[in-house]
């Protein structure tokens, strides 16, 4: 058994946990994918075309393309978050699935790593669905947009890890409202999803650069037009750092909660 602050041990056993969640999801895949497609379709159509007609161009592109790139990132954020908060909490606390797994020759680190990979997988599915909608409307300019995939993966890992850390502290489902309202909603508004960050007061702009979603949007938007953002490596590094540090924190907090 790992000491509380030991680095997480990653093993291929995580795929047994990933596979368990995959098997459950497969039963509900169709409605889940339809929701992943329909939501951005409806919102992008309404805001992209409706609001876009009033706004005209934004940052030198149609508002639909502008918003589409932002939504790819925010969809990944919300998908990873919901999976690592509400669904993971159900498995950890309500269904006692994690308890059953660690009675087998699996470690808690295996479980958290499997949940991490799984929530990131859900984020990738959601991100690709939005990407497909944006592409279907003709707003993905270049095959270079395929490079969006690793960005979505990284965003998924970052928000999944953050969610798992919050999950380890949760007392019930209501606990997650704080995180959703106090952290995620402001992040959605400050990260340049709906309007350029430059519209914000300069102090707030600086604060925005601390947010992983901001860095995701900053790299995603040029990418969908076939350009690599200046400072792309720095953006990726910030998201990657969020993923790694938050995962470590999630592992420590979950060990503290369950291996007492």
């Amino acid at each position: 058994m790992a000491p509380l602050f030991a680095p997480p041990t990653l093993s291929l056993r995580l795929f047994a946990v990933w596979g368990r969640n995959w098997l459950v999801w497969r039963k509900l895949a169709l409605p889940s994918l339809l929701a992943n497609l329909a939501d951005p379709l409806i919102v992008l159509f309404g805001l992209g075309y409706g609001l876009g007609a009033v706004l005209g161009e934004m940052d030198g592109m149609s508002y639909f393309a502008f918003l589409g790139a932002g939504f790819v990132c925010s969809a990944a954020m919300y998908a990873a978050t919901f999976e690592s908060l509400y669904s993971a909490f159900s498995r950890m606390h309500v269904q006692r699935t994690w308890e059953a797994i660690v009675n087998a020759p699996m470690t808690l680190d295996d479980v958290i790593a499997g949940e991490w990979a799984w929530a990131a997988t859900k984020a990738v599915a959601a991100g690709i669905c939005v990407l497909a909608v944006v592409a279907a409307f003709g707003f993905v300019r270049s095959p270079a947009a395929l490079a969006a995939l690793p960005v979505i993966v990284l965003l998924g890992l970052a928000f999944a890890a953050l969610g798992l850390a919050i999950n380890a502290l949760a007392t019930g489902y209501d606990f997650f409202s704080y995180y959703m309202t106090v952290v995620l909603t402001p992040m959605l508004m400050l990260s340049g999803v709906f309007f350029p960050v430059e519209q914000l007061p300069s102090g707030v702009q600086v604060a925005a650069t601390l947010l992983p979603l901001y860095h995701g949007v900053s790299i995603m938007r040029p990418l969908l037009s076939g350009e690599l953002a200046p400072g792309w490596f720095g953006h990726l590094a910030v998201i990657g750092a969020y993923a790694m540090v938050a995962f470590y924190i999630a592992v420590v907090l979950t060990r503290r909660r369950l291996l007492r």
């Binding site: 058994m1 459950v24 699935t97 059953a100 009675n103 087998a104 020759p105 291996l259 007492r260």
Partner: protein, 304 residues
Amino acid sequence: MNAVALEARALRKSYDALEVVAGIDFSVAVGECFGLLGPNGAGKTTTLRLCLGLTEPDAGEIRLLGEPVPARAREARARVGVVPQFDSLDPDFSVAENLVVYGRYFGIPERVIRSRIPELLAFSGLAGRADALLPTLSGGMKRRLTLARSLVNDPELLFMDEPTTGLDPQARHLIWERLRQLAQRGKTVVLTTHFMEEAERLCTRVAILDRGTIIALGSPSALIAEHIEPQVLEVHGPGLTAWIAGAGAHAPRQEHVGETLFCYAEDPEPLLAELRGRADLTTIHRPANLEDVFLKLTGRDLRD
């Protein structure tokens, strides 16, 4: 004695200021059915978690199937089955899927588990239910499926944490029957329970835990012989208060609990003679059992 399947030495575990396991020693031989008994909060479940390597002891040593725990707990758990206290089956899966997915945690290929499913389900009284969905199962069926799940890796040792709590008599008897069959196959069983009747029927030896220490250890019959007079009379009724004064003469030990007088005696005949024909008193005469020992040693106060 046979080889040792599980051994705990000087085991201690505290949560904050409370010492939940306060220095316990026991060893379980291969093929034994060993019971851990104790009131709520006595440290039974913590002891099981320590033995499985799910929490680290503050002091002491554990060897499970020859492996040091928690250092090599994962390797030990590969050869162990667990029936946890609370239902942890996957509600989104069918009966068969529950077994297949659980087997994967042991690294057992799906093909191998699938081939064993009919046998596992037959053993658990769930034959033909492979495709049943979890929400359609009764509490007893879920418990039996948990038993089947704990056997997917053909374990050498089974931990069962209150395996029959909340079950109806039919389901309870089926679990007992299966435990006996497992014992005949040479499996070691470590069981916690609140039901003394269950422990008395199944366990070769029991340890009674209270406040983190083992206060009695031995076979149920030896514990009864050691701690309790062989015969018990339970007397209650409107005439009790008037009668109590006279009862002491014949019962070396008596206990007045609420509206009932418990009399413990080597020879109950004089008492029975006195009680015969009294319409204002109801008497139950029975042999002493493990529950009498348990209550004598741990007291009658509520523990929650």
